[in-house]
């Protein structure tokens, strides 16, 4: 996404009630975006590039404030210098009045580049900080924000027709995952493996507002679910309970899982420009996922499979760690086990197989430490993690331990993986 295309920004602000005017941020800022008078320290929105270098040095935390603003209405330096306290967030109505629709997609919140210290004990390990925000060097160019909202090329949404809706798991009582195919006809909607799209469920919510769009990862390769067609697939699990286990029927997932062939859906996106696969010869892909987190892995695997079939790709290794509660709940189990062993190295982990000890993806990873260590040592290797938030820390810790046991310096390796776009975390 070209920065000049963004009309909505997350404006970086300093809280004047908490700031102690120590000047550390101004001294740290590499682009001189921070200035002060005798009253306040402020950030010039025109200059700030969101590099986050000022965040961890700030002793107070006052530096870490962000406001969603239409670019044209960003608070000026002069305005900020006069503040005694931060202004409230603009409400949805105020944003809408400024021409920003609720569906507009924002630039992602920038992340602090700091890596956590590797102290003994590990309880303070913050896995999210290792996730890259840049794609691998050989990624293809991703188109983003083509449809829906002010940040997009077109304020209108796209419509797609349902051309397939299949169960991707065995039939079970408390789980139901669908493989849904959407066809865009003549509407240009280019996507890459690892990108996602937004589905806007029809109707309004309890308070009469249109539903928010829900984001789903694309499960198909760049040239279509069926090669050569303008279609894509999604992997959607019917939500029947919330995170606490209370019975809740998810609006969007139930809408999607109940779609009939021929129905049309409202789509925005595409989204995502870093969780993208490498395309250079002999690039390795290690995929670690649970449940519907398999969607982008299916997409990448399928694109590599098509390339291999065409004979045009000097293949790198594919290694998959895939977890689910049981074998029956694992999406795409059948097709997966039929893939040739010399094409992909599949490792499954089931956490709720009756009579078996619980086994998670990170356990499977530790069993394969020798192979993973070799991959970690190779700059052609790229790691992708997708699934439930709770897996993320265990997975990144497993990678760290494997690296350390193999004598690698994790502080350096972790930083390299992040900076070179070789470790991608997408958890929810």
């Amino acid at each position: 996404m070209d920065m000049s295309d963004i009309q909505v920004i997350r404006q970086h602000l300093i809280d004047p009630e908490i700031c102690i005017r120590c000047n550390t941020c101004e001294a740290t800022c590499p682009v001189a975006a921070i200035t002060h008078d005798s009253r306040n320290y402020v950030v010039d929105a025109e200059t700030c590039n969101g590099c986050m270098a000022c965040i961890s040095p700030c002793p107070t935390g006052s530096i870490d404030n962000w406001r969603v603003m239409p670019r044209a209405r960003a608070y000026s330096v002069d305005e900020q210098l006069g503040w005694d306290e931060l202004p409230a967030e603009l409400s949805e109505d105020e944003l809408a009045a400024a021409g920003v629709s609720a569906a507009a997609s924002l630039p992602p919140a920038p992340e602090v580049v700091t890596l956590p210290a590797a102290f003994e004990g590990g309880e303070t390990f913050q896995s999210a900080q290792y996730g890259a925000t840049v794609p691998p060097w050989s990624a293809a160019h991703a188109y983003t924000n083509l449809y829906g909202g002010k940040a997009s090329k077109s304020a209108t949404t796209a419509r797609a027709t349902v051309t397939g809706n299949l169960r991707a798991t065995e039939v079970g009582r408390d789980y139901d995952t669908h493989h849904i195919v959407l066809d865009f006809g003549t509407v240009p909607f280019p996507v890459l493996e690892g990108q996602s799209i937004g589905i806007v469920p029809p109707g309004v919510d309890a308070s009469g507002r249109p539903h928010h769009a829900r984001q789903y990862s694309v499960a198909s390769a760049r040239n279509g679910e069926r090669a050569g067609y303008n279609n894509l697939s999604l992997t959607i699990k019917r939500v029947l309970e919330d995170h606490q286990g209370n019975a809740v029927r998810g609006v969007a997932s139930n809408y999607m899982c109940d779609l009939q062939i021929g129905d049309t859906v409202e789509v925005i996106g595409p989204f995502g420009n870093s969780f993208l696969m490498p395309n250079h010869p002999r690039s390795h892909i290690v995929m670690i996922c649970t449940g519907t987190g398999s969607a982008p892995m299916r997409a990448m695997t399928e694109w590599r499979r098509r390339l291999r079939k065409s004979g045009k790709f000097e293949s790198g290794k594919l290694m998959l760690f895939f977890g689910a509660r049981t074998r029956e709940e694992l999406p795409y189990f059948g097709p997966l086990v039929n893939l040739p062993k010399d094409f992909i190295d599949v490792n499954l982990a089931f956490s709720r197989t009756p009579g078996q000890p619980r086994r998670y993806v990170q356990d499977a990873m530790r069993e394969r430490a020798a192979d993973l260590a070799a991959l970690l040592a190779d700059t052609n290797s790229h790691f992708y993690v997708c699934g439930l938030k709770s897996m993320e820390e265990g997975v990144v810790l497993a990678l760290r331990d494997i690296a350390v046991q193999a004598g690698m310096d994790w502080d350096k390796l972790g930083a390299d993986l992040k900076q070179q776009g070789r470790l991608h975390l997408e958890t929810y």
């Binding site: 009630e17 908490i18 102690i20 005017r21 120590c22 000047n23 550390t24 001294a27 740290t28 590499p30 005798s38 270098a53 000022c54 961890s56 040095p57 002793p59 107070t60 935390g61 870490d64 005694d84 580049v113 700091t114 890596l115 956590p116 210290a117 590797a118 102290f119 004990g121 309880e123 303070t124």
Partner: protein, 475 residues
Amino acid sequence: MNGINYSDKIPNNVNLSEDRTLQRALEQWQPNYLSWWNDMGPDGSQDFDIYLRTAISVDPQGWAHFGHVKMPDYRWGIFLNPAEANRKIHFGDHKGEDVWQEIPGEYRANLRRIIVTQGDTEPASVEQQRHLGLTAPSMYDLRNLFQVNVEEGRHLWAMVYLLHKYFGRDGREEGEALLERRSGQEDNPRILQAFNEQTPDWLSFFMFTYFTDRDGKFQLCALAESSFDPLARTTKFMLTEEAHHMFVGESGVSRVIQRTCQVMNELKTDDPAKLRAAGVIDLPTIQRYLNFHYSVTIDLFGADESSNAATFYSTGLKGRYEEGKRTDDHVLKNQTYKVLQAVGGKLVEKEVPMLNALNEVLRDDYIKDSVAGVERWNKVIEKAGIPFRLKVPHKAFHRNIGALAGVKVSPEGRVIPDAEWRDYVDQWLPTPGDRAFVAGLMGRVVEPGKFANWIAPPVMGINRQPVDFEYVRFN
């Protein structure tokens, strides 16, 4: 002595692993330092796991690494800000020449004195604060205290590095002496008087970190201009850590005020007796603590007329605060500055050569900076709708150093007879009764997320952690 794993245990950017001389010096010193830390560091806390920030390099990504560590295992590193290529001396008689990477022989004694004086304050404040952990108002505050303590420890390392690296045998001896003096000890006290006072309670601690550590900030800023490049780079990096100490002080006092105002509004009273009965610190008492710490701290800048200050400046050892941002000739030979003196029962300004008044210049810069924070405290009071304002006393109030030493001056700046001083001093400075009351409030509160009654919780935790995070694990 199988010594130290240099790259790992002492994070540094001074190429320690290849500097055999420095290694040998530090190998001698390090065990003594640890033994000093165990004897004089935070009382009974050496086994706690504390959520501390450790600097492992000087770039923005490197110097704020957080994790639970035991204080004796803290990685006290040695860091210099990155060198500036072709940096030139920018003030004094050597203006325009290249900065020094080694010490010119003629300035050796003065530089050693400057470094030792600065270095001596670092372990001193650890000693002054060593019992405070026993009465922490919260786990969050306990962690902040320990963070301040380990960073003072690191600042000692920074100064000892300079002594070891550039001063040979004398430097090593001074390094040892820094571990031998003791705050408040009669036969071997710390060099500066403010660092021999006790820090008996947490209000004193917050006032100390706000006012006295701010003196540290201004001294470091002045040294960061030094022509001796390693000193300039060392102190520049120390300033990033010093900012945390300012924060602990400013936010600490602010939270005390916030809590008091809250109770004042709940009880609809400004009667100190009722507020004290409700277990909070009344605003007049806070004002008296402020008067004390402010006046004791501005003494630290030294005599208002000082030939040493002139020498340090002209020879390029110590600049002014933000020297680089000033637009005069940076030599100051023909300029003057106004200092105060008491003549015939009145304070009058006297014009003196600016070079001799550089202590006063730094003191005035400090005062401006201090006042700004006090105004932010007033915002808290204002927000609570209470008609009370804190203010810093006149700079001639309660002075013990310089031309104003011993002159009796009211907080408003009126020279007064001794009798009047005696009548009013209890309204101006903390009385033994005030101190006893504040001391009586101190009780240990260390359950995560709980706070003593006399202080409000902070608005946010450390490093984006929640306020009720387990900042300290007692083992």
